[in-house]
Symmetry: C2
Subunit: 293 residues, 2 copies
């Protein structure tokens, strides 16, 4: 398997699915939808979309359904970034190296752009070319990952612990909800497109939360070791805000050690369940450790 | 049929379904969910929920499914009010006679409360005790009514024409999207719970947009003829903002004449399709004309 080539293929399919979703669900005549497109189509690694497609592929599922689910999870992720950047939240002016949505379109349009992306993400799932059983399964996965037992709860915890010193346990709880839950939604939507069984879903859940945590630990490290140009956003913001991170807990090296250890465990477990077919997902996990942005 | 008694029965079932949805989907330990509950459980006429239940009843559908759909549409409506009240939108301090969500909980918590209600509304639909076909149908109805071809588009148009003089045609387009689309979602979710046929759905769509427009015309009239105590919100805000309304176009009396005419047409058409069984929905339409708040 040529990992890089395979990733590019998934990425191209994800971007194509997003373009198609925009045509139907984010009509050009709406300024709010144009703002949504501005944020949605601005590039990015599309890790969540790639995960949907790769999991579906590994389990020989329906590529067509998975493509729409891939678009949906990226729309949902994008809404969370737009709302997160707003003045009443993190107040970030820059996202992926360009002005954040509210900087480009104003606050009310940006908020509505987030609202419309969230709504249309569920619309995309409901209208996917899949059996109703598969669609409902995917909608449940997306809803569970995005809502009060997932991402929104993570955002709340993140705001709550911004000013307080958090323990490792609290930090893990934040990341599990803020990042892990939506990564798990992506993975479970891929599994839904392949009508995976319960054992497979459970194993994939462990993988999702495992790589979600690794992703966040590396994020904490990059915040102190990378440059603003590489990241496309300001660096050092966590330490400036006095936030507890894995770096403040263990130092940059200690945090990377932890990430490597977690990653090895996650990959070994996945390999045990899916064997050689898990190669792409294992490599994806490993790439998270060496990413520069 | 005793209309008032029947309405109270539907209302009680809707409120019960909402309480139940809160237990599962808006857990107490989350401040964001407590803010969502504050706005969601603050009373109200629950017209949209009642419509879901009444339509399902008229077509002999599944009451259990309809109750969850009723909860979902009220959650969605509630999210739209919370976001609408935010400083970057209408900046309203009062809602249903008490402090609006951001006044009570702060801006970031209120925004997340809206986000969580929107997300969990779709979760409630996906987890309804219904066949996957019914759930997907209901999710499509909710998504279509709430998104870029419905309510969010209406909010955008409303902001856009706030400063501009609107024609009657533009005003109708705003209301069709801002109010009518979600009322139609409610009605179509009731129809989905009863697996209604296409002709029935089309007739119900006309009814939904018909009463949605009447509701808005009466709203415009109440804004100049009612008191703040009766409405539970400030009056005269439209004219202060120089907004075009049906009252600025036709005067209060002329607007009420138009509302009556539209209402008669809507009810006659509904009666033709559903006969005596439409009695409750016809009466509901008529009550919209004489409401005081």
């Amino acid at each position: 398997m040529d990992y890089a080539k395979q990733y590019q293929e998934y990425l191209a399919r994800a971007n194509q699915a997003l373009e198609k979703a925009c045509e139907t669900f984010l009509p050009e005549e709406s300024e709010v939808c144009r703002a949504a497109r501005y944020s949605l189509l601005g590039g990015g690694k599309r890790i969540r979309a790639v995960l949907v497609l790769a999991v579906c592929d590994m389990l020989n599922g329906s590529a067509e359904a998975a493509e729409q689910f891939a678009a949906a999870v990226e729309m949902l992720h994008c809404y969370s970034l737009i709302h997160d950047d707003l003045p009443c939240m993190d107040n970030d002016d820059l996202r992926r190296g360009k002005p954040s949505c509210h900087k480009a379109f104003g606050e009310s349009t940006a908020m509505l752009a987030g609202d419309v992306l969230l709504t249309e993400a569920f619309n995309v799932v409901a209208n996917a070319p899949a059996s109703p059983i598969v669609s409902v399964q995917a909608a449940k996965a997306l809803g569970a990952g995005a809502g009060s037992h997932g991402m929104v709860y993570g955002q709340e915890l993140d705001l709550k612990y911004e000013a307080l010193a958090a323990t490792e346990e609290q930090l893990r709880l934040i990341h599990r909800n803020k990042t892990g839950a939506l990564i798990n939604a992506a993975v479970q939507m891929g599994a839904a497109a392949a009508q995976a069984n319960e054992t497979q879903c459970k194993e994939l859940e462990d993988y999702a939360f495992g790589i979600g945590l690794v992703f966040q630990i590396v994020d904490d490290v990059l915040d102190v070791t990378s440059t603003a140009e590489q990241l496309g956003k300001p660096i050092g913001s966590d330490s400036e805000n006095g936030k507890t991170t894995f770096v403040t807990l263990y130092g940059a090296e200690g945090a990377m050690e932890l990430a490597k250890k977690l990653n090895n465990e996650t990959c070994a477990s996945l390999h045990e369940e899916f064997g050689e077919k898990a190669a792409f997902l294992e490599q994806l996990a490993k790439e998270l450790l060496v990413r520069r942005s």
